[in-house]
Assembly symmetry: D2
Amino acid sequence: MRGRATVRGSDPDAGVLADRLAATRGLSEALVAPLSDADATLQSMADASPAKWHLAHVTWFFETFVLRDHAPGYQPFDAGWGYLFNSYYEAEGPRHARPARGLLSRPSLSQVLAWRAHVDAALAPLFGRPELAPLLELGIAHEQQHQELLLTDIKHALAQNPLGPAMWDAASSPPPSDAGPGAWHEHPGGIALIGADGTGFAFDNEGPRHRVLLEPFALAAQLVTNAEWEVFIADGGYSTPTLWLSDGWAWVRAEGISAPLYWRGHEHFTHAGWQRREPGAPVTHISYYEADAYAAWAGARLPTEFEWEAIASGDDLAGGNQLEVAGPVLPAGSASLFGDCWQWTRSAYLPYPRFRPVAGAVGEYNGKFMSGQFVLKGASCATPRGHSRASYRNFFYPHQRWQFTGLRLARDL
Amino acid sequence: MRGRATVRGSDPDAGVLADRLAATRGLSEALVAPLSDADATLQSMADASPAKWHLAHVTWFFETFVLRDHAPGYQPFDAGWGYLFNSYYEAEGPRHARPARGLLSRPSLSQVLAWRAHVDAALAPLFGRPELAPLLELGIAHEQQHQELLLTDIKHALAQNPLGPAMWDAASSPPPSDAGPGAWHEHPGGIALIGADGTGFAFDNEGPRHRVLLEPFALAAQLVTNAEWEVFIADGGYSTPTLWLSDGWAWVRAEGISAPLYWRGHEHFTHAGWQRREPGAPVTHISYYEADAYAAWAGARLPTEFEWEAIASGDDLAGGNQLEVAGPVLPAGSASLFGDCWQWTRSAYLPYPRFRPVAGAVGEYNGKFMSGQFVLKGASCATPRGHSRASYRNFFYPHQRWQFTGLRLARDL
Amino acid sequence: MRGRATVRGSDPDAGVLADRLAATRGLSEALVAPLSDADATLQSMADASPAKWHLAHVTWFFETFVLRDHAPGYQPFDAGWGYLFNSYYEAEGPRHARPARGLLSRPSLSQVLAWRAHVDAALAPLFGRPELAPLLELGIAHEQQHQELLLTDIKHALAQNPLGPAMWDAASSPPPSDAGPGAWHEHPGGIALIGADGTGFAFDNEGPRHRVLLEPFALAAQLVTNAEWEVFIADGGYSTPTLWLSDGWAWVRAEGISAPLYWRGHEHFTHAGWQRREPGAPVTHISYYEADAYAAWAGARLPTEFEWEAIASGDDLAGGNQLEVAGPVLPAGSASLFGDCWQWTRSAYLPYPRFRPVAGAVGEYNGKFMSGQFVLKGASCATPRGHSRASYRNFFYPHQRWQFTGLRLARDL
Amino acid sequence: MRGRATVRGSDPDAGVLADRLAATRGLSEALVAPLSDADATLQSMADASPAKWHLAHVTWFFETFVLRDHAPGYQPFDAGWGYLFNSYYEAEGPRHARPARGLLSRPSLSQVLAWRAHVDAALAPLFGRPELAPLLELGIAHEQQHQELLLTDIKHALAQNPLGPAMWDAASSPPPSDAGPGAWHEHPGGIALIGADGTGFAFDNEGPRHRVLLEPFALAAQLVTNAEWEVFIADGGYSTPTLWLSDGWAWVRAEGISAPLYWRGHEHFTHAGWQRREPGAPVTHISYYEADAYAAWAGARLPTEFEWEAIASGDDLAGGNQLEVAGPVLPAGSASLFGDCWQWTRSAYLPYPRFRPVAGAVGEYNGKFMSGQFVLKGASCATPRGHSRASYRNFFYPHQRWQFTGLRLARDL
């Protein structure tokens, strides 16, 4: 997990919180319903984790930071599992090496599901304790983050199989809403308030809220599409070094990159297997380097995280294509700031002024990841509804592209 | 698979052959009975393959080289699986990368078992065709080789799990038979006949039978034991560079080696999980480098493959601890030349005089592995009974030790 | 080289420019006077280049972008050398691989010096052409950058030799000036103007000048010293994961880091060989990760580049310990913002608002390095005098520490 | 150095020995005469060493094992140099890492030459002590081995320079003597005596002399030529996997191998720079894998080391093209068993029966290299005259090809 709850902001009614936890936990289980035990055990690269591991890790989080710390007499379901399912909490002691998560055929998927049920039952009595609400909120947000990772990780794993297995049938995607070609959101510049405003849940890295001075700029109303990306490729985008950051060009050559991840001819790999790409859908599964090169080629630039947030603060979050509790269908094709894909910004992931990591393992850390990564804003088709907000700061290394990552251009005014 | 049938030697009665095939196929399935789909999908290093992959690969071998080539009208069970389950036959075209075998959650274990049944049924009519007997014999021998690999590979995979899962209950091992301390088989030297004598099945690399001139030597009657190895360790064996081959010393330092594979305190990892080591049992899971260093420390040497075979030619194969059809229990502890563990020789794996690889994919190749490896003789507790003979040449790289490898000393007379 | 001249700002008198060029070229040659041909050929890591290569590269820069492009009829001294001494200008075509620069024993040091003299002579007539002044200014600034790299690279190379060779005798260092313990420069916050003001030479990445909003902060008046760093070590700084960025902690463990580069007992390696460290001198040769961990341990933080520049804008650059034309002595020990060592900021190296890389090879690029690196401000004891200014943005990857890198703490007010 | 003197065999007249030492030492210095200090400092891969290092290492050998151990009161020329110039003698303590030998610009070439003169002078009085003759003989043989390595290592280093520098002018090569197309040396088989016969100097790995049983065979009278190799290439030799050993095919693909080392169009790199290849000259700079693949393509095989030696035992060593004391010219082109290039055999480098490494550092070790390498017989154009004999066993890893390595076919009779 990345982040902690801010203390302010969270005091929901206990029943509502219980319902939200149940819905979140249920969605995780719905996501893995199409997976076999073997599917759920796969790890296809060190950046990714097995689906089963995600299910277990979020459960370990509740068992450790809620039940162990706050439910008197609670005994861990299995004393050996903490070592396996701690992700990176140094304060919780040594743990199983991340690249070896795919070697854990035991516990089985059904054992992990049994653990989940056990923990859910043990959590039930705690909803009446208001002081635990922020921690339970954090657990929900944490599990939502892992739902997205679960989907992108299993997609990557299944893509390695030459048989091209599908988790779901292909959904017919709604046609992308059309903001009109060349439509831009313009902003006059000035001092903007950036960061979480304290009215709802937020991770610690979204604050403190602070002032940022902006120059006049415009943000594209539409995401860059597959069709536009094909023009970039046809124009030699991947073979023109002057378009690229130096690190990006080295990456392109070392890895032999010539298209977004999961592209093959006119198809791309999806949770429904290999499917024909829709030209008007947003391009996705691109690295920061690719996004930056495209922007250079297009005579534009990427927005800063502050510009993006200034525009998005008024957005109602509606219309975007995001993960529904009702059904895990992942088509793509809308014009909203939120949904479809995360949008690379040119902002390095750094602390806001007066940011301080909090003490203790739960607060370990958004802060410790603050070097070498870039901020992404918005949300993707794999982001659970209810997990999006303008102040949200997602972050990945500039070469990573197995998330649903895309781009939205900006320019100076 | 390694090797091809020699044309001579094989003409069994069709019913006997059918029974042997059924027994061999049944043993493979018995071996995986304790494994889940996820267990059977694990690949813990590039040298190893998933259990499911072994089951499928040997089936692909029968489907391709017997059914496709000799059963008119036979259609492959699934046209996409040949790509997945070809091991290294260049003549059969491109194939799935070996280190990525562990990323195949599909087909599932049960699908592979269904394929096995389908192929078995299709093979039934072919037993009446004597010209196919050598190929079927080869298929049996090939599957037996993979049974041993399946056992050593799944052992390695399960050993990576901090939970230390067991496939079977621990068996009580019979006390090792005692050849008497310091007992040696002496040989006066002279010209020995080496290689398969044409009276039964043999791989191509076991021939041609030829003469080798031996000097007088002695071969230890007992394998080196765990207790003896502990003395070697206590005497600084792993920290004395002058005992080691140069490549071996580099390996010890680079890998931080200080004990046989699977040792932990007084325990070792087995198919029954972590168990206390028996001091009198043969040491196993050692590399060639370790075997050679031990021999140097003991003031002895490893035998050549010719010396070993000259002594073993009269051996009756009885008494050794090998894999039984009846039950896959793997204790260890006998004094026979065959069984317990493979024995490193100081002979590099090279072609016998006048050896020629045969044409075609089936004959691809013992020959192509003839550089950089060393010959092991005997058989291990994981070698199926019926798969052992004095002329058998097993071979591995000198750093490899996930097989049941041990050593038997030799000295000059 | 990194950067281009801004067009504004530069129109010095031709004679002054000629004198400055001569002084700069002469300093380069003075720096290598103690080096043998073999010394000057060494490359000890891919990040570093041979001293001879630096001498040649800056000469190639003048020969290519000034003489070839602007001196009619000029013929390259040696047609094959452009391939060897182009650094990274994609627009100038393929070039010798950077990690293989140390394999060039030819041309020899004396051949390179002869080339320098030839180019200097060919440049003489061009000082009368005012339109070339910005390009010549750029060439001077470029050569000054490489003077610093030459010194840090040869230091690294000589440090690899177990004999610990010295380039120079040890100089007696002046005692560090004392700003008083705990002295801080305080700043009330507000809108600061950041970036080059157009009154002198500047690289393109120093502009455009723009407004930045600052919160109230304080910047330490003194650099952190060796003695203070020893307290950090003694307090377990290098073994406390919670002090470190995640990437930093991975680096510490993978590389076995436990002290600044070049430390050995109470000594450190210098251009004068191994010398006793002075407790009151600024700590140097530390990575960003180390600087950040120290700041966390000290309950402070690193400044942003904007905070540093806001304080420094009024600094007179006097007092710092920097490279003199008169003599290449490199002691350390002052309290100035400029000199002694470069100071890590917490600002990622990113483009200023409205920054645009210019067209053509000369402008290739500060821009292309704008991912993954952090900004350093100030100057070091190896930075030539005249090459420092408040708007200067140096940048390196967070793990790099073979430059004279140190830190100055900041805190919120 | 590889090997030790056998005690038997060596008792030359002191004056003759002194003359031979002087000639050998002088040849080493003649070889480096065309090299600058920087040339002599280059190391282009971990397998190779700087020319200066070779000069120093052989001097360290005399200083350590002769002067230190046998000249009372002798003091090392420089106490710190033993650490630098020990190659791999574990018994002599820790030493400078091999891949870092190219980082030693100090001591300079002239300092090393001064050391050589000092040691030569100190050795003079020792020629009157017959008990030291075997050790001095060993020192001479050791230095001769390093003369060949010096030549092949500097060739490799200069080849990395895009300028293609030459050490010497190209010599006009004598036309290859013609043994007649298809000429073969036939051998009836039987028991051959193999190994050094005790009549002259030999390394320990050449004994003990022992009997080997040979089958009838034929050995080609001519080395395979450049023209023949071009036919192999044109016939798809490098792209036909079935011709290759499995390890060899993996090497071809991983390294992108498509021709012998140093080939470029119709040229090859030599000590005289890039020169046109002579079609009739022996092909050289090939790996074992390439030699084996060629033999498979040609329908032949490589000889064993025993076959080669059985034929060569009667050879008079005349006619081959080897390194002369008079002048280091390295053309290529004769038909002798000795000279032109080393010839790969299919024999792994293993101990002869009853071989035992001797105690002490001098005897460290031919034995310790006895895994993973193959034996080469003969001598090359870079092997000093007087350093060749039928029992000589050279050895390298199967992928190595920076030595002058070629092949001579064999076939069964």
